[in-house]
Amino acid sequence: MAFTAPNETFAGKVFAVDAGLDKKIVFGGENVLPFHLFEGSVPNRPVIAYEIQDVPPADWPETIRKAYDAVSGDPVTWAKHCQDKLGAKAIALRLVGTHPDRENRSPEDAAKTVSDVLAAISVPLIILGSNHVEKDAAVLMAAATAAKDKNCFLGKAQEENYKTIVAACMANNLKLIAMSQLDINLSKQLNILITQMGFNKENLVTDPMCSALGYGLDYTYSVMERIRLAALTQNDVTMQMPMLADVGINSWKAKESQASEEDLPIGGALEPRAISWEAVTACALMIAGSELLIMRHPEAINAVEKFIDELM
């Protein structure tokens, strides 16, 4: 007897978003659930951006810090290394040094870093604040000016500071990442607030907030699945943005990414454990619907790229 394929087609579709100038990236654009090529169109593969930061990563766990030891002293060298040696398709620059509890770098310093990095690379840039809502507003405004017309992403706009950041994006012709806190309704509401300011909904990426394997991944996974289903089945235009998974920063916080084999005998060798923690987090969230990922370890990124090769 023949098997009748229970295909499902949807009214809705995810917006395709691009970034960069010379070496453009495009992600999103599918009208089916993640990687469901068998029943619809998935024109673009997810994009993984390499994470770098404005100050040396003294706070990163050893396993990931040593992967960049020779280059992470300054962001320009680091960015070029990712682009030229590791083949990064995009770079995510986190301006963590601007956080008041860290180096408390000024918005002007941050803007200078952004200009320098932009001048050095040809792949698209994602510019991220330090996740301090007040400081981010000032820092991202300055950074936006430095990135004017470069088709970069700027983020993350949150409920408390989105107005300034959206205005900066609009004034400088940039794209935006908006983050809400693990709740489908909050995510939708923020998208609506942002588009009500006149921001083009097709220039927006949603970050429903990432969490790592074993530390809330179940929540992020389901929020992403629900957002994607709303986009497709209900054709809800306020939820059809591609989704970001900020994987590296979260997965490298997990105990499993840091504890030695001696301290965590059930986890075996630290290095492959930490790498798989990052790769598995990314893989699960991609299956749940994210098409832009920010990651750290080259081996984890390579594994996820190979996985995507097999899926597409």
């Binding site: 007897m1 098997f3 009748t4 499902e8 499993e256 059930i266 986890g267 699960a284 984890a300 594994a303």
Partner: protein
Amino acid sequence: MALSGVEIFKLLPKTNCKKCGHPTCLAFAMKLAQRQASLDLCPDVSEEAKKVLGEASAPPIRPVVLGAGDKAVKMGEETVLFRHDKTFVNPCAIAVEVKDTMSADELNAIADQVLNSEIDRVGQKIRIDAILVSNASGDAGKFEAAVKTITAKAPAVALILSTTDPAAAEAAVKVAAAGKPLLYGANESNAEAMANVAKTHKVSLGVAAKDLDGLTALTDKIKGLGVEDMVLDSGARTAKEILRDNTYIRRAALKKGNKSVGFPVITFAQRDDANLETLIASLGITKYSSIVVLSSIERWKSLALFVLRQNIYTNPQVPLQVKQDIYKIGTPSNDAPLLITSNFSLTYFIVSGEIEGSKVPVRLAVLDTEGLSVLTGWAAGKFTASKIAQFIQESGIEKEISHKELIIPGYVAILSGSIEDKLPGWKITVGPREANGLPAFLKARTN
């Protein structure tokens, strides 16, 4: 497919005799439709009705058990496609492949790894569930010998016996039948003979086809031969094929009532590249496999997959929780430190794990935050100064210990003043932010 109350009503005697304990046949039918009553309560129901209702009420994905005894793994019985709709039911079994071309030493070493694979995470015991022995040699004697070696070493571990040769199957199943192995390898050309072995020894049968059409034909045929417990292999090997076939199978079984594919699915994730293998297995765990087979089980790989499986199969509505209480860690004297945390299982197990590691005996007060983490609980008003004060007062701990100092998590340092206001005479000390700072913190206090 599930029947509605009215459809079931039409099949009942319609005498309203009340023997089932319900006022009318219709009321009973409604309960049946909601699966809140069982058909045997009605003594007068016809054989015909029993048959129709029995088929309709059978779960769309048949339950199949892998192995025997307290380490047996239940598979199938899933009811939804997405975990936010309803908790997934039977966590995907993780298996490792051994080959009958390996030496006895190699076989024993892997069996040993499986026996030592058990870990305890957030209160659950997890382990590698099964060993797949494959008949790579093509020789029945070698296969039987390998199965003997494994069963001698790991008698309680579930087995998957992988061969397409009915003679080898017969020899191996005989050795292992008591452990209720899964015999994997019925296909187009050996179906009768393999079904026969499975039937004779009362074991479940893995069926392997090249595609979903072939699979449908094969399960129908084998069902006709009298084998009910099957596990499906559609032939999918690449990630793309696995996602497609697993999605089709789950949808067809649940939404179309397709009984030909209403069985658990086995996925072969083996790859030369260990990182890629881990991700293929992750795909199986998230997307509907009931067994994933690995080529090796390094601890790092198993741990990541164990935790992913836990995340995917946990109840999406109610977080895992521990009971509100004051727990003793080690044997604390009455001047030992008193710490407080939330009752979210993950939080509790991380914090208690770090304290155990420090070897400093303490009392750990666990506040009922309805399963929210410390920070989430604080943001949601469940880990507040008044709740903490009330808990400490009502617990009667004041009488049990010789001091009045409470150590709170560093992330909620902001609460220290208001707790002191609400707990007169107490001193509130702010601990480290992350639990992994606790050993150093506690040791520094005892010196």
